[in-house]
């Protein structure tokens, strides 16, 4: 244990002078379509991906519905007007300038980009323990590793575009079955224009032997990213899935509106971890990614389990509520979150636990940290339906305030319609303990590092839920993101 703590320490120290280190751009030939959104653009995206007719229809339906909607205003966020006609909805960095692209050849520029991000795309360089990666840049999946190893077990892990081509029946069965295109404004937009994201299918009784991960990178200017991920865990299967994301430093705001759908069948278990590090904007709040995401899992099977873990440090604005619909009897949902906002970042994040089956349970642990001029809100719903006998929920959401110009807010909603439910919610808000800081200082640890240490300790309960490699990365990020929090 002790040794671990020392490692944490040196890590914190090592990076305490680091800025956003993923802010570079890759100079690669990228085919970007004209800015703007209309039916023709959607047809063009669909054609580029060689999609079947049913999917184009799905997109057009979503688009026409989206036209009738307005941006949601209920979140505790100050979102500037977004001009949806001034965004390019498709950017492909894999298209060769000359001639048709070969499937196996990848532009060395792209390879080195992902190397630089710490995501090796060559299998022999993979992180210890083995992590299969689907690397997505802008609108297109660049490469998916370990596909062959996985397919031997019957596991499908590929980009969603490929899944549409290779496994249309699975995609057709599950796409939009958890997040309907009518779900909300951003879900409708995503359903109309989504580009790549990952598709995972774990067959009956299979435990996925390695972590699966998708790395999302925004590179091209003036574009938005609209990833779509679909994970299906069949009966008695298990998978741990990781997601990471970064973007270049730009003065413009870029839009990222994703949908993640997860279907968990009988006794299956899915762990979904996110380290979200989109460019947060500069210290004056200029630039940064708008991260408007709909993530939801449907626990259809008996005794199925879904665990969301998220570490949110990036993005100028975050609007995201990874949720669980607990319809299988005995199903369990979990949500562990650390959301850190600094400078002028805004986050409104949390979860929804919808209890429908019998003897379902859910746990929510949320740790918010606000610094600088940022606003950080937890928003969560726990709903127990009429027939959800024996439902249990425990929620705890804590907020930590660093500095006097930031805000920390909690908005839990509870809607209980069954008399056998036991639902508990606790929340606290406080500032960082001066005693703890003083103690660290007295032991010779400078202020900024002390804060980093204490914040990491505060977030430990959640960080512990992350797979090893991600936990280290997440700790690093927390420390970096806390820079300049003291005057």
């Amino acid at each position: 244990m002790k040794q671990n703590d020392n490692t944490d320490n040196s890590l914190v120290r090592e990076i305490s002078n680091e800025k956003y280190k993923y802010g570079f751009t890759t100079d690669v030939h990228t085919e970007i379509i004209e800015r703007g959104l209309n039916e023709d653009v959607i047809r063009m995206i669909s054609a580029k991906k060689g999609e079947p007719e049913w999917l184009l229809e799905f997109r057009l339906k979503a688009y026409n519905y989206w036209l009738t909607l307005e941006m949601p205003k209920w979140a505790h966020l100050d979102i500037p007007e977004i001009d949806y006609q001034n965004i390019s909805y498709y950017a492909d960095p894999t298209v060769k300038k000359d001639g048709p692209k070969s499937l196996d050849e990848i532009d060395p520029q792209l390879m080195s980009t992902f190397d630089k991000l710490g995501i090796p795309l060559e299998e022999r360089l993979a992180l210890s323990g083995g992590v299969a990666v689907d690397a997505v840049m802008d609108s297109v999946s660049v490469k998916t590793t370990f596909k062959k190893t996985l397919s031997e077990k019957g596991i499908i892990f590929c980009s969603i575009s490929e899944a549409v081509r290779e496994h249309p029946e699975l995609v057709k069965q599950y796409l939009g079955s958890v997040v309907n295109y009518r779900d909300n404004f951003y879900a409708a937009l995503n359903s109309a224009v989504f580009s790549d994201g990952s598709f995972v299918y774990i067959p009956k009784g299979v435990r996925c032997p390695m972590e699966l991960s998708t790395y999302f990178r925004i590179n091209a200017a003036g574009t938005g990213q609209f990833e779509r991920t679909l994970i299906v865990a069949d009966d008695d299967s298990y998978v741990s899935y990781l997601e990471g994301c970064t973007a270049p430093m730009r003065d413009e705001n870029q839009l990222h509106a994703a949908i993640v759908e997860i279907v968990v069948l009988d006794r299956a278990e899915v762990k979904y971890s996110t380290v979200q590090n989109w460019y947060p904007g500069d210290e004056n709040g200029k630039g940064g990614v708008y991260n408007f995401v709909t993530k939801r899992g449907h626990l259809r099977g008996v005794n199925s389990k879904l665990s969301w873990t998220q570490v949110e440090t990036g993005s100028a604005i975050t609007w995201k509520y990874p949720s669980c619909i607990l319809s299988g009897d005995g199903s369990q949902g979990e949500f562990y979150s650390v959301a850190l906002t600094n400078n002028y970042q805004q986050a409104d994040t949390g979860t929804k636990m919808i209890h429908l089956g019998k003897n379902t349970s859910s746990t929510i642990i949320s740790k918010g940290i606000s610094a600088g001029h940022s606003q950080n809100s937890y928003r969560g719903l726990v709903k127990v339906g009429k027939n959800a006998d024996g439902a249990r929920n425990y929620s705890q959401c804590d907020s930590l305030l660093l500095g006097s110009n930031c805000g920390a807010h909690t908005f839990p909603y509870m809607d209980i319609q069954n008399e056998t439910a036991v639902v508990e919610h606790e929340a606290t808000t406080s500032k960082i303990s001066e005693d703890q800081l003083f103690y660290c200082n007295q032991r010779g640890i400078p202020m900024e590092e002390s804060i980093g240490l204490i914040v990491n300790g505060y977030a430990k309960e959640v960080l512990n839920k992350l797979p090893m490699e991600f936990a280290v990365e997440a700790q690093r990020l927390l420390a970096v993101s806390l820079e300049n929090t003291i005057g």
Binding site: L401, L402, E426, K431
Partner: protein, 448 residues
């Protein structure tokens, strides 16, 4: 035509009747209220604060309103005895919005400049005093209820306690609804406590006839520096009685306020509290109990605004919901950037006894200052099965054990009532309520 338009029309067409005989101070605020209502309308479910209570819908029926102020025939002494044993109070009645002094209160000589009386007559006799506060604490920009109430307000109660004066006896105001037709009553209460003043105010809502009724009441309270104010609000009507009560309170430095809202019997009820901690060192306790069954509905909404540093607020609401009743609680605590060293704690605990009962709870913290200690907790659950079994093993029947546990559950609030005779009476009322013996208001010999 929207519901608020109907009332705006009614207002315009009857302006002369409404104004007749009413103090200029009250008449002078109507235009401002009209503008606010025209702009914001009546609150409905589209508003976050009214997610579970459609106030607009409650206003929609064609309620009779006694704008011409016809005298109601109510025989107070005969009709009603709402006494708290061992508690001597200054007792007043409101029939509709008309204040009537009890004989006992009439015999008491108010001294040291204390004023207790009809809002309308006080506004005529002391226009400067009333004008300083009237419609000044209620914020019509944020409340369509305050707007409509101010538009139609004609009378109610005014209490003024000058600097340093302590009113020993609690002031008790019993609101009676007695009408042969379906009726809406619009009342207004204004309480002003000078620096260091002390007052206990007990409001009892009762109804004498089982006609449909809607009572709309706005209470404004100004609590000066170092003043101390206790406010107990007991609602004990019946299922055809709906009520919308809005309390606006502003506290100056080092003042102490205790607010308790207890709903024992009702139809649909919405209680809103907007509390502003405007002076340093102010402390506020807000508690509530709601016991519901049938298709009763109780919605408590509180908004506590910590504007300045070193203030404390504590909040505890408890609900016991039976049959098909509906409970909602939303409590927002706002801690502004200057409100350092704020301590704000909020708790909401609920017991659902059936699966047709439904509870919504929504505690909310909005915090912009860093040196704070804030927390909130909310639970929905059932009676402790282990405790039930333990009691049964000791020979206590299951139903008796349940009653004891429910009493214990709400006693966390009732037991905190500082006024001992009132506390005892409330305990008795709550117990009768749980035992199903409180089908109507206690002590009233009109109800069968």
């Amino acid at each position: 035509m929207s519901v608020s338009d109907i009332y705006i029309d009614l207002f315009r067409n009857n302006r002369q009747t409404i104004d007749a005989g009413i103090a200029p101070v009250i008449n002078g605020c109507r235009e401002r209220a009209l503008q606010a209502l025209s702009e914001y309308g009546l609150p409905n479910k589209k508003l976050e604060e009214y997610l579970h209570f459609d106030a607009e819908q409650l206003f929609a029926p064609d309620w009779g309103m006694n704008l011409g102020r016809l005298k109601m025939a109510v025989d107070y002494t005969e009709a009603f005895r709402c006494n708290v044993p061992n508690l001597s109070t200054l007792l007043y009645y409101l029939a509709g919005d008309t204040l009537v002094q009890s004989e006992s209160a009439a015999r008491v000589q108010l001294d040291n400049g204390v004023l207790i009386g009809s809002l309308n007559s006080m506004a005529k006799d002391y226009p400067e005093l009333v004008e300083k506060y009237y419609a000044g604490i209620a914020n019509m920009e944020r409340s369509g209820i305050a707007s409509i109430n101010t538009m139609f307000a004609q009378d109610g109660l005014f209490v003024y306690v000058p600097d340093g004066v302590v009113v020993e006896k609690p002031v008790q105001l019993v609101s009676l609804l007695q009408s042969k037709v379906d009726m809406m009553v619009n009342r207004r209460i204004l309480v002003v406590l000078g620096n260091g003043a002390q007052l206990k105010l007990l409001l009892c809502d009762h109804s004498i006839e089982s006609r449909n009724a809607l009572s709309v009441q706005v209470v404004e309270a100004y609590v000066g520096s170092g003043a101390s104010f206790s406010y107990y609000d007991l609602e004990e009507t019946h299922t055809a009685n709906h009520r919308i009560n809005e309390l606006f309170i502003e506290q100056q430095s080092d003042s102490n306020v205790e607010l308790k809202t207890i709903t024992l019997h009702n139809g649909k009820t919405r209680n809103t509290i907007f509390a502003t901690l405007a002076g340093r060192g102010a402390s506020l306790n807000v508690d509530g109990v709601a016991i519901t069954d049938k298709q009763q509905q109780v919605d408590n909404y509180t908004y506590i605004d910590h504007k300045v540093s070193d203030c404390t607020s504590n909040e505890l609401y408890k609900y016991v919901l039976d049959q098909e009743s509906l409970g909602a609680f939303a409590g927002r605590v706002l801690v502004r950037q200057d409100a350092q060293r704020t301590a704000a704690h909020q708790t909401n605990r609920n017991i659902c006894l059936t699966r047709t009962a439904r509870m919504f709870t929504q505690p909310q913290l909005e915090i912009y200052a860093d040196d704070v200690k804030c927390s909130h907790g909310a639970t929905v659950g059932q009676l402790d099965e282990k405790a039930l079994f333990y009691m049964q093993q000791r020979g206590i029947s299951e139903s008796e054990a349940r009653t004891l546990l429910m009493l214990a559950f709400v006693d966390e609030v009732i037991g905190n009532v500082k006024l001992e005779p009132l506390r005892d009476r409330l305990r008795r009322l709550v117990e009768k309520r749980f035992r199903g013996e409180l089908g109507h208001c206690e002590g009233c010999n009109i109800c069968k």
